[in-house]
Symmetry: C2
Subunit: 423 residues, 2 copies
C-alpha cells in the first residue's frame, strides 16, 4: 500500500503541562522532516475548537529556531481548550464538521495530544472517516499531569509536575521546620481531581521521617476527620510540626470533595457562596480541632507549567511519544495512542508501545493499593521505586539577559478559510 500523502493537523487539548509542547515539537519536527508524506503541517487554534471553527495555521511558517525552543516552553503553545464535543450518537454534527474542514484542507493525518476525552474524540473521528471512505490517519499522543491514563506506564507531564511539587514541598517543609514555634502546620494543596498521583509524588521529598511531607492525603483514601487529627497530633508530638500534602480531589467517606463538605464555604462581597479548596478545608479542621496555626500553599496552574525545574526524563519522553506517533502514522498505523513502556528500572529504561484509542478512552488509572502506605497517609517504597526515575535530570532552559526563561509564542500564520463559516 502506498504511503498516504497529505497535510497533517496537530492539536493540543485540556490542561497545559510543562511538556505538552515537547510532544508537539516531536510531532512537528518529525513530520517536517518527511515532506514527501506530510505536504503541510497545520496547528489547530485552541485545540479541537480550531478545527471546528476552521482556524488553522501553517506551522511551516514558524522560524525553525523558535520550533527548537518550543520543546523547552511550558503550557500549550498551539492553543488548547476544554470544549466537549456533542455525543456522536445524538448529534454527529461536530464530527461531520471536523471532517468537512479536514477534507477542505487536504488533511490526511490528525495528531491529537491530550487525555481520555481527546483519545475518545480522535477514535470517533477515525471511525467516521472510515465510514465515509475518507482516508484519515488519527494518532493519539498521551498528555496529563494527572498520570491517570490506562495502558501506559506513566504519562508525559507527570514527571515534571512531580519534580516541581516534591521540590516545593521540600523547600516549604524547611520553612515549617524553621518556624514551627509560630506556624506549626502547613497544608500544601496539589492538583489531581480524581487520582492522587501528584500528591503521592511529593512523598519523594521525604528522605527521612523528619522530612516533609509527614502526611499525604490522596483522593483514593476517604478522609476521616478523627483519624486525620490523630495522625497530626502524633506528628506534632514527634516533630513539633506537621507538613500535610492534600490532593485537591480528596473526598469524605460519602464521596464529597473536601472543599465542598469539610470546609470553607466562602461568601463573596455580593453574598454568593463560593467553594473553597481542599487545602483550606483541611486548614480549618486543624485550626479548630487541634488548635494550632496552619498555613496553606496552593501553587495552582503554576505547578503544571514549571518548566524552570522540569524533569529531563519527562521532557525527553514527551518528545519521543510525539515523534513515535508520526513514525507510526507513516507506516499506516491509525486509531492508536502511543504509550510509554518501562523495560527496566535499575537502570531505568523506557520505550514506546501502542494501544487502541478506544481502550484508552474508557480507562482511568488511580493510585493502586500497593503504592499506598497501610496508614492511608503516605506512600510505599514500591511507589518511590516507580516514581523516582520519572523526575530524574533537569531539562535544559534558555535564560534571557533579563534573568528569566525564554519561552516561545508562535506567530500562528492563519490559513485562508475554504468552507462556509460555521454558525
Amino acid at each position: 500500500m502506498a504511503v498516504l500523502k497529505g497535510n497533517a493537523v496537530v492539536a493540543q487539548s485540556g490542561g497545559p503541562t510543562a511538556v505538552i509542547n515537547a510532544s508537539a515539537c516531536g510531532v512537528i519536527q518529525t513530520a517536517m522532516a518527511n515532506p514527501e508524506v506530510f505536504t503541510g503541517v497545520f496547528g489547530g487554534l485552541n485545540g479541537i475548537l480550531g478545527v471546528l471553527n476552521e482556524e488553522l495555521y501553517d506551522i511551516g511558517k514558524e522560524a525553525p529556531a523558535e520550533m527548537d525552543r518550543l520543546r523547552r516552553t511550558p503550557s500549550a503553545a498551539l492553543g488548547s481548550c476544554r470544549h466537549k464535543l456533542k455525543d456522536i450518537k445524538r448529534d454527529r454534527g461536530d464530527y461531520d464538521r471536523i471532517l468537512e474542514v479536514f477534507k477542505a484542507h487536504g488533511v490526511r493525518y490528525f495528531f491529537y495530544i491530550g487525555g481520555n476525552d481527546s483519545m475518545d474524540t480522535a477514535d470517533k473521528l477515525g471511525r467516521l472517516a472510515g465510514e465515509d471512505n475518507y482516508d484519515l490517519i488519527v494518532m493519539g499522543v498521551p498528555k496529563t499531569i494527572d498520570n491517570d491514563l490506562a495502558f501506559t506506564d506513566h504519562c508525559p507531564g507527570f514527571g515534571s509536575v512531580a519534580k516541581f511539587n516534591a521540590t516545593a514541598v521540600m523547600e516549604a517543609g524547611l520553612d515549617t521546620e524553621a518556624l514551627y514555634t509560630h506556624d506549626t502546620t502547613t497544608v500544601h494543596e496539589v492538583m489531581g481531581r480524581n487520582a492522587g498521583w501528584i500528591a503521592a509524588a511529593t512523598g519523594l521529598a521525604r528522605r527521612g521521617p523528619e522530612d516533609a511531607p509527614h502526611i499525604i492525603l490522596l483522593p483514593e483514601v476517604p478522609f476521616e476527620v478523627e483519624k486525620f487529627t490523630a495522625q497530626v497530633d502524633d506528628c506534632l508530638k514527634k516533630f513539633n510540626r506537621c507538613f500535610i500534602v492534600c490532593g485537591e480531589g480528596s473526598k469524605t467517606p460519602d464521596g464529597k470533595y473536601l472543599g465542598e463538605a469539610g470546609g470553607s464555604f466562602a461568601t463573596d462581597a455580593f453574598g454568593h457562596a463560593q467553594l473553597g479548596g481542599a487545602g483550606e478545608a483541611v486548614r480549618g479542621i486543624i485550626e479548630n480541632k487541634i488548635g494550632v496555626k496552619a498555613r496553606t500553599n496552593c501553587a495552582g496552574t503554576a505547578q503544571r507549567n514549571a518548566m524552570h525545574f522540569a524533569s529531563k526524563t519527562d521532557v525527553d519522553e514527551a518528545y519521543m511519544v510525539g515523534k513515535t506517533a508520526v513514525e507510526a502514522a507513516m507506516k499506516g498505523v491509525t486509531g492508536q495512542m502511543v504509550t510509554l513502556v518501562r523495560t527496566g528500572n535499575d537502570p531505568y529504561r523506557c520505550t514506546t508501545g501502542l494501544v487502541e484509542l478506544q481502550k484508552v478512552a474508557n480507562g482511568e488509572k488511580v493510585v493502586p493499593p500497593e503504592f499506598i502506605d497501610p496508614s492511608g497517609f503516605g506512600v510505599t517504597e514500591a511507589f518511590l521505586d516507580y516514581a523516582t526515575p520519572l523526575i530524574l535530570g533537569e531539562a535544559p532552559l534558555d535564560i534571557g539577559r533579563d534573568g528569566l526563561p525564554l519561552y516561545v509564542r508562535l506567530t500562528k500564520c492563519m490559513l485562508p478559510k475554504k468552507t462556509e463559516t460555521r454558525k
Copy 2:
C-alpha cells in the same frame, strides 16, 4: 584598642527566605576563619528564643562540607521564630536574660539576621550591654523578602522571591493564554503584607503587552472595585484573557485588607468564620461582577524558599552582607546594620555600607510613586531598571541521585546550660 576576643552568637529571625542561610554561612565561615578573635561560634535555636531559653549549639561541631551546602539551602537552618520581646521600657527582663546568657557563655559578638524588629532588638541589647559595662558587639544583617528595609538599596531575599514569582507568573500566564476559552482570568497572589515590592517584581515577566501580568495590585494603591473591573474588561477586550497579580496586602480605600473586606469570609466545618486571602477576594469580584471564570494561585511559603531557581546575585549578596558584618565587628564596629549600596546599574555593581541599627528599626520602605505606573495597575521602566539586576544569574544547586535538591539540616550539638532554667 585590642580586638575583643570571645564567642559569637548568630541567630536568624522572622520569615525564612531562600538566602538567609547564605548570610548565616557568610557570618559563620568568616568568623571561623578568625579563631584568634572568635573563640567559638554558636547558633541560637529558633532565633532569639534560643538565647532566652539558653538553647545554644556549637556550630564548630558541624561538618565543614555541610557548612558549604548551607549556602545553597533555603529557609532558616539555624531555626527562626516570630517571638516579640517585651517592651524594654515596661519590662527589661527579656533583655537582662539575654545578657545573662551571653555573659554565662562568654559571648562578645551577636550577629542578628532579620528585619526591622530584629534590628531594634539588637540595638537595645547593644545599649543595655553598654550600660552594664559589658563589652558586646552587635551587628545586624538585613534579610527580608519584603524588601521594605530603609537605608539599603534592596534586601537579601528579595531577588530570589522576585525571580521565582516572575517565572511562575510567566509560566502560569502561558497557561491562561492557552486555555483562555475556558479559564479566562487568573489571580496570582504573592506575599508582601505592607509593601508591594514582590507584586511589582512580577512585572519583570512582562516583555510585551500581551504577556502576563496584565494587572498588578499593590498595597500602595488603594483597590477600587469599579476601576479594577474596568481595567479587567479592557484587558479582556484586547487579549481575550487577563492575568492579575495581587499582593496579599492589597487594601480597600478605607484601609481594610481585601481578604477582610472585599471577599470571602469562609465558614469552616464548625461554623467559625475564616478570613480568606486577597486573591480569593479578587476572584470573587471577577466572577460576580464581570462574569468570567477566574482561578487563583497562591504559592504561599513555597515562594520564599524557592532556592531551586534562586537569583545568583541575591545569594552572593546575602553571603557578602554576612561576611561584611563579621569583618566590621572585628574592627570594633557595633550597633550597625550592613547595607547594600548600588554603585552602578549598567553594568550593575553593588557594595556594602553601614547604618545605625536604630535608624533602620524605625524605617519602612514602600514602593515609591515613581515605580508605579500612572494607571495604578503596573510598574514603570524605572522600576524594571531597579529590579532586573537583582534577579540575574541562577544560583548553583546540588541535585541528589533522586533528582531533588540536596539541602542541609544542621546537627545542632547543644551546649550544656550554665544558668538556671528560666521559668
